[in-house]
Symmetry: C2
Subunit: 296 residues, 2 copies
Amino acid sequence: MIKTTFLGTSGSAPTAERGLPSVAIECNGGLYLFDCGEGTQRQVMKYSVNLSRLKAIFLSHIHGDHSIGIAGVVRTLALNRRTAPLEIYVPKGEIDAISQLLKFDRVMLGYKITVKPIKTGVIFKGREFKVSAFRLIHSIGAYGFVFQADDRLHFIKQKAEAAGLKGAMFSKLQERGKMTINGKQVRLSSVTTREAGTKIVYSTDTRPSKEIIAASKGADLMICESTYANSEQRLAVERKHSTAEEAAMMARKSKAKRLIITHISTRYKNPSTLLSEAKCIFGNTELASDGLAISI
Amino acid sequence: MIKTTFLGTSGSAPTAERGLPSVAIECNGGLYLFDCGEGTQRQVMKYSVNLSRLKAIFLSHIHGDHSIGIAGVVRTLALNRRTAPLEIYVPKGEIDAISQLLKFDRVMLGYKITVKPIKTGVIFKGREFKVSAFRLIHSIGAYGFVFQADDRLHFIKQKAEAAGLKGAMFSKLQERGKMTINGKQVRLSSVTTREAGTKIVYSTDTRPSKEIIAASKGADLMICESTYANSEQRLAVERKHSTAEEAAMMARKSKAKRLIITHISTRYKNPSTLLSEAKCIFGNTELASDGLAISI
C-alpha cells in the first residue's frame, strides 16, 4: 500500500488553514517528500507521518515556499540522532544554493546529506518503485515527478502447477525470467499475469504542458497545482502557474484516474470555485486540504 | 499599551503544540519580532498579529530554530507588496550568513532589508521606546534584549497651574525641560511626576548570568529560556541552556515583577515540572504557551 499525505496545500504563502507545499509518500517503510515548504517538520507531526523514515526529498524548484522547510527537517533529524544518509534532489544548477541553505548556521548535522541534480528520466530507485522527473514550465528551472511502483506479478495457479513450479522455483523464476523444469523451458510471462504498479504524478509550479500530460498518462493519482480560478487566468499566464480548469484539462487528456488540485492561492478563502471549475472538465477531481491522506 | 505575544515556545525543534521561538511585541502601531523560528509567518496569522506592521526583527543568535522563519517572513511581505524598509539585527559576524539566507533562492523582494550588527547597549530607537542588547552565554555568539518604553510624565495639576502653565506651554516645557513663565524659570521635573516605562526582557539561548540579572532589574516582564527541568541540569550545562529553576533564580535576584518561562525542550509533553520548580523559587512565574498574549 502506498500512502500519500498532503502536508501543505497553499500557494506561495501559508494561510491559517493551509501550510506551504509538501506531499509525503510512504511506501515499503520509507518516507519520500515532494517539496518541503516552511513548516513541513511540524506538519508531519500533525498528520502522523514518521519523519525518521525519511529517505529522500525531491524539490520541484528552489523557490522558498517549496524548499525552506528542508533546513528545519535536517536539523530536527540531527537532534533525533539520525545516522542514516539523506538524499535531496534539486534542479541542476541549484545544488550550491540548497547546500548553502542546509548549512547556513554552521550547525553540524552528524549524518551525510547528498544534494543531487535532477535530470529528466529516472532519478531514484527505491524498494519496488522508482521516481522519474520531467520538465515543468515556470519562472525558474522546475521539475514534476512520477512515483511509479513496480508492476506486480501474480502466478496463475493452474499454469504454474502444469509447468511443474514448486517451492523456491517461484522466486527463482521471478528473478531470472525463465528457467528449465523437467527439461522444458518455462517463461515467467507464460505463468503470470501482470498488475500495473501504482502511479502518482506531482506537478507544481507550472503552466500546463504536453510533458505533464504525457508523464501523467493513466496515473492513479495526479496531483496538480491549481493556483488560480478562471477569473485569474491572466495571472496564471503571467506568473507561470495554472488554473484549476487547466489542471483538469490535463487530467482528462492524460486519462488519469483521479485528480487532486493543490497549491491554492491565498486569495481564495473558500476555493469551491476552483473545484467546481475543475469538475466541469474532469469529474473525479478533489480539492487538497492539509492532512488529506490517500492510500492506494 | 504594549502587547507581547508568544508565537513559538518550543526549544530546538517544534512539537504539535509548540512552534519554534518567536516573541512579538506590538507598540505604538509597530511590530517587533524577537527571534523568528520556522513557521513564524503562520503563527502571526493564527494569533492575530499584524505582520504588515513589522518594523524590525531581532535575532538572539543564528541557530536555525531561532532564525529560519525570516526567509518566509520577508518573502510573504514581498508578496503583499511591501515597500517600507525592514531592519534585521543579528550578532556581529553573522551578517553574511543571514544575508545569504534572505536571498538563497534569488527571489527579488522589492523593498529594502538592512541586516545590522548587534552590539551591547542601545541598538534601536522606536517611537517612545528603545531596544538594547546584552551578551548571553551560549555555544555561539548570542544576545538578550531589553525592550524599554520611555518613562511617562504626568503633570501635577496644582503645581502646573501655580507655575502659570497653559495651552501649548505644556508640550514646549516637555520638549525643552525648562522655560520661563512670567519672568520665573519653571523646570519640567518640578511640575511633573515620572512613571517608569514598561520594561520587557527576552533572553534565550543561554546559561544563567550576572548580565541577565543586571539587564532584567525590575523588569515588568522577564522572558527566560527554561529548556530543562532540574533532572536535566547536566544537559543544561553541557548544551549551554538553562533550567526553569535557574531562570527563576535570576528573576528573584533581578526583582523582576513577572517571569515567563519558554523554549521548552520537546522531551516535556506536559512541562508542569518546570513550572513548579520555577515557582518554588519565584512565585510569579508562568509557563509560556503558543498564543499567550500579555498586555501591559
